[in-house]
């Protein structure tokens, strides 16, 4: 299978955000790969391996859209085991979910993958849109928020379990399709390519970390830089513009209570919630 996987760089979610005068200052931010995209890379690797640590088949292409510096995070994906990268150079300010999906659509036209695998959302924008928009633009089937993906032996369809509000839904999609992955996708038996492994195949309960060997190998792998114009997108105007940022109302720490009795009394008499 040929799989296209997204890799977005995001500010480290653990660091404190600098807000001033309605603007966000990311100049000093440290960057990392969006966690859900790491899961997407792991998913693609599992779909292409003959079991854990087994031989790989097919090709995994990592795609990122952003400044040149995003190649750093792409190297991380290549060090995990992906084969090559495509970095579409664009200003972050010109990108919203719609623009990103349009760029990805052009990359899909060129690469013709059997599936596009994305994280279900980025942990900075939190929009949770790109995969769905991409599928809509391409006219492809979609399976979002995947907790498991089983590709059929003939490689023509996949059964995806999705954790929805009502429970767990099993959805079969024809390939090529757009798949977005949720947290559970990295559990041991969540991902299986029935063309490559038996039903009992399992991996570690986490995404893999780059080995030294992987990091060395990644240095030699290709990251091809392209411009949006080269992809045939002469104008790229975001449909959503961020006008400004504000800090959310802060919550003050309340009181410590000494006992369960005191807690219940306060909840009843003071807060009046029980």
């Amino acid at each position: 299978m040929k799989l296209l996987v997204t890799c977005k760089r995001v500010p480290n979610p653990e660091q404190k955000l600098k807000l001033a005068g309605g603007k966000m200052d990311l100049a000093a931010a440290s960057w990392q790969m969006n966690t859900f995209d790491e899961y997407a890379v792991e998913t693609a690797l599992r779909l292409s391996e003959k079991g854990k640590g087994g031989e790989r088949s097919g090709e995994i292409v990592v795609v990122s859209i952003g400044p040149k510096e995003a190649s750093q995070q792409m190297r991380g994906a290549l060090a995990m085991g992906a084969d090559r990268g495509v970095l579409v150079i664009a200003e972050d300010a010109a990108l919203d979910a719609d623009a990103i999906a349009r760029v990805l659509g052009k990359v899909v036209e060129r690469e013709k993958p059997d599936a596009v695998i994305l994280g279900k959302q980025t942990v900075d924008g939190d929009s949770n849109q790109v995969g769905q928009i991409l599928a809509g633009l391409l006219g492809w089937p979609q399976a979002t928020f995947a907790a498991s993906i089983h590709v059929a032996a003939d490689q023509k369809s996949a059964v995806v379990s999705r954790e929805v509000d009502a429970g767990v839904e099993e959805k079969r999609v024809r390939l090529p399709a757009v798949l977005t992955v949720d947290l559970r996708i990295i559990s041991k038996k969540a991902v299986r390519n029935e063309g490559l492994v038996a039903a009992d195949a399992e991996w570690d309960e986490t995404q893999r970390y780059a080995s030294l060997k992987g990091i060395m190998a990644a240095k030699k792998k290709e990251i091809k830089e392209v411009t949006t114009a080269e992809l045939g997108l002469t104008t790229l105007v975001p449909l959503m513009k961020v006008l400004g940022y504000d800090a959310p109302p802060s919550r003050k720490a309340g009181v410590r209570v000494g006992s369960v009795e005191e807690l219940v009394a306060k909840l009843h008499n003071e807060a009046k919630v029980i």
């Binding site: 599928a135 720490a253 807690l263």
Partner: protein
Amino acid sequence: MAAGTVVVFCEISGAAIRSSSLNAIAAAQALAARQGQGPGQGQGPGQGQGDAQPHAAVVAVVIGSGVGGAAARDVARYVGRVIAYDDPRLGSPLAETYAPLLAAAVKAVGGTALLGTATSTGKDVLPRAAALLGAGMASDIIRVDGPNRFRRPAYAGNVLEDVELASAIVVASVRQTAFPQAAAAATAGVVEPGTVGSVETLGSEILSLQATKSARPELGEAKVVVSGGRGMRAGENFKILEELTDLMGGALGASRAACDAGMVPNDLQVGQTGKVVAPQLYIAVAISGAIQHLAGMKGSKVIVAINKDGDAPIFQVADYGLVTTWETAIPALIAEVKKLKATSG
């Protein structure tokens, strides 16, 4: 912007409107007002005091199999006009089939906006519909600031973004907890069938839905939420939290750490990547309070934290903090709440 028509995607539960869709209707009404035709700034039919059609600019769309009757009429209690796409081929909520119908509905009524609640279905379907409409979309809006301006959280709720959509049609998913529930109008609206035409599944099919069986209220709608974290150590230890939850008539939640560890199903997850809740009372048990968890519960009215680690960040947002183990606190809490119930009848 010219006076518009706001289309709101309403989900159906049984033969009635899904409760979370009432919040989307309220948001649609707020947007309709901003677009110059709804209550408050009426210029079209529907302005004026005690008018029979107070929500003229809001059109609801329902999609499904067998939804054209009682279910659609239930939705019509809240809006002036309901378009029902009722067809046996639409029994399962497939983004592939629902998104084109939403787009068609927007075009059919000359819509300027499409809204829906950020439920699992809304999150799946709305962006795809936006793509078909060439529309910009704002996810998880918490406030309507103008005909095409919204406020929404980002960065796990650590930042609020004010966004503007530049497209002729705007799409937004609505954070349920940030809007009130729409009230029924004095007069019910009209229901009309939508033209379904060909239904293109693109080969997609829902094979099964393993429904979570629970007598408890939905997490997003419960007045009380009791959540457990990694400190619960094992799934079986959640039983005692369930007892407390049921005693208080609440819903059970969990932190991502507890879900990741496989203690409880992921649909209980409260946080940035799970559900966002804002109950009257949120009880966090053995939850440290990672940023991504706080993003899902910071809007609760009263927060109680029970954790043996007095330095846990959860205490920084808790109204009432109790530093102790859950093994000590929860049985005592159950006993105290029972006592309280007995005395207050």
